[in-house]
């Protein structure tokens, strides 16, 4: 374990990007971990990650861990995709592994930056379902301000209510599958089948696997000149 933290800027927010473990094999691409709702970058890794050859980074999302806590909320999953993109921009092409909310963000990033994400692994974790596939009763979200952050209570409340329609998730799957140099760019390890995860699983070219196998496959990805162009 290392304990190195670098600071990234995403708009007005300062984000903490932790080096969780150094590379064990020169030339291997890094792994970016995206935590679940309310979580932060873990200090110790599950055994499954032990054979990952490259460097392992973990990003604390806005309002979580050591990252800034903004005033007045306004969280969206799209904003967190921007957080994750700031990390990707810093570390270069990477495999992205997300838990819960982080899994949804990993999928979005795979669609948003299909040429830089070398496989997205979607795992169970807090905040996987979000607010479901369509709006529920209209509400005004104003959480208890006395809950001490981190995590920001606004993030907890707002990102439990953001809408995640299946067709919207599918648009990111299509971007990734059409444009990624990785043959199967999205792997679902999540057991919980939310509406959006089910849609992803049903999509052509989307793989279901164990975390260990997914990491093994993506760690072996070697870009060719065309895919790096």
């Amino acid at each position: 374990m290392t304990n190195k933290t670098q600071w990234l800027r995403h708009g007005k927010i300062k984000l903490a990007l932790h080096t969780v473990r150094e590379s064990m094999e020169e030339g291997s691409h890094p792994l970016l971990l995206l935590h679940g709702l309310g979580e932060r970058t873990p200090e110790t890794l599950f055994d499954e990650f032990s054979s990952w050859p490259g460097q392992i980074f973990g990003l604390d999302f806005t309002g979580h861990g050591l990252s800034d806590i903004p005033k007045g909320g306004g969280y969206t999953a799209e904003l967190l995709m921007g957080d994750a993109d700031a990390a990707l921009n810093q570390i270069g092409p990477a495999t992205v592994c997300g838990r819960g909310l982080g899994a949804y963000v990993a999928l979005m990033l795979a669609g948003g930056r299909p040429r830089q994400v070398r496989g997205a692994i979607l795992c169970d974790g807090p905040g996987l379902a979000g607010g479901g596939p369509q709006p529920s009763n209209p509400q005004i979200i104003h959480p208890d301000p006395h809950c001490a952050p981190p995590p920001d209570p606004m993030a907890m409340a707002e990102l439990s209510n953001d809408i995640r329609p299946a067709d919207y998730a599918m648009s990111y799957v299509l971007q990734a599958t059409h444009l990624s140099p990785v043959i199967h760019p999205i792997t679902v390890c999540a057991v919980q089948k939310t509406k959006w995860i089910t849609a992803v699983c049903e999509a052509i070219e989307t793989e279901e696997s164990t975390l260990k196998d997914a990491l093994e496959i993506y760690s072996r990805f070697v870009p060719n000149e065309e895919s790096e162009a």
Binding site: R9, H10, G11, K12, I13, T62, D68, P70, K71, G72, G73, G74, Y75, T76, A77, E78, L79, M81, G82, D85, A86, N89, G111, G112, R113, P114, Q134, P135, N137, P138, Q139, I140, I141, H142, P145, M154, E158, N161, D162, I163, R164, P165, D167, Y168, M170, S171, Y172, Q175, L179
Partner: protein
């Protein structure tokens, strides 16, 4: 004055026939973000709350609000976060706008009051009325009722058809937005720039708006709106969700629609709304009006609103 720091050589632009500065200005704290609030009319009169459209600001009501105040109301408007004189926050979202709206409503009192919103503000207040019906006596929507056609200041494209370029552009914008500043220019230049999106509004009115919604920096005038904001939201959204909730509105609804198509318009037509109207809805298409109906026809729209409320 909303903008007290107008250098003397520009003061002539801050005059516009019928435009009146608010009588009072205050701030409301919304979970740590400061929201600028303006009031016209007698402080003890019955309140009405106004919400502006996307990329507008409360001062765009400087002509319309005084007409309602003359009708015997205390008229309250606010700058949405990132707009006008409200805080430039780190994050922007629909949920945050709704929460800020509630903070402003709470600063007025617990009694149900009429709400008037234009464009995005109309959509925002419609959702407010659905979430907090006990706080709304009447809902008046100025060309912001949902349509299956398009909503330029909420969604710039149909969200389910994302393209690599759009996604990449949005992410590139997020990577760069910490350093962005709105470009400075002459006062009339800013008015002309805005005129490209508001072709039906007079140059004199747009110059007046610059004096209220822009600031004079060393290198020129610059719109106050947060440079990290982009026109339209980004994320999943479907107009059908809004349309299908309309019939459940319990308070009287007055919907005024533009009839002249323009860049910023929502293109909502009466016939599209018919299957979704709540029991006490009155929908009126304003002949010859573009999207900014209350700016193009302030007297007519104010009269219709006052008749509806009375």
């Amino acid at each position: 004055m909303l903008n007290e720091n107008i250098p003397s050589e520009f003061r002539r632009f801050a005059e516009f026939p019928g435009a009146r500065m608010p009588h009072r200005r205050r701030q409301v704290d919304s979970h740590g973000s400061q929201i600028a609030v303006y009031e016209w009319g007698d402080e003890t009169a019955s309140p009405i709350l106004l919400a502006h459209g996307g990329f507008d600001f409360a001062a765009t009501y400087c002509q319309f609000a005084p007409l309602l105040a003359n009708g015997g109301y205390r008229v309250i408007a606010f700058d949405q976060r990132g707009h006008g004189n409200s805080d430039h926050t780190a994050l922007y979202s629909w949920a945050a706008d709704l929460r800020d709206t509630l903070a402003v409503a709470n600063s007025i009192g617990p009694e149900p009051i009429p709400l008037i919103g234009h464009s995005k503000g109309g959509s925002l207040l419609t959702q407010f009325a659905q979430a907090y019906p006990h706080r709304v006596s009447h809902l008046i929507n100025l060309d912001g009722l949902p349509s299956r056609r398009r909503h330029p200041d909420i969604s710039d494209h149909e969200r389910s058809r994302l393209r690599e370029k759009e996604l990449g552009n949005w992410l590139d914008h997020r990577l760069a937005c910490a350093e962005l500043k709105r470009s400075a220019g002459g006062l009339e230049e800013l008015a002309r720039r805005r005129g490209r999106m508001n072709p039906r509004l007079s140059h004199e009115w747009l110059c007046f708006l610059v004096t209220q919604g822009a600031q004079r920096d060393d290198d020129g005038w610059r719109w106050k709106i947060d440079a990290s904001m982009r026109f339209g939201g980004f994320g999943p959204w479907n107009p059908t969700w809004e349309l299908q909730r309309l019939p459940g509105l319990s308070m009287p609804l007055l919907g005024l629609l533009a009839t002249v198509s323009e860049e910023m318009g929502w293109e909502t037509k009466e016939k599209d709304l018919l299957p979704y109207l709540p029991p006490r809805a009155e929908i009126v298409s304003i002949e010859g009006a573009g999207h900014f109906i209350h700016i193009e026809f302030p007297d007519e729209i104010a009269k219709r609103v006052l008749d509806f409320l009375n």
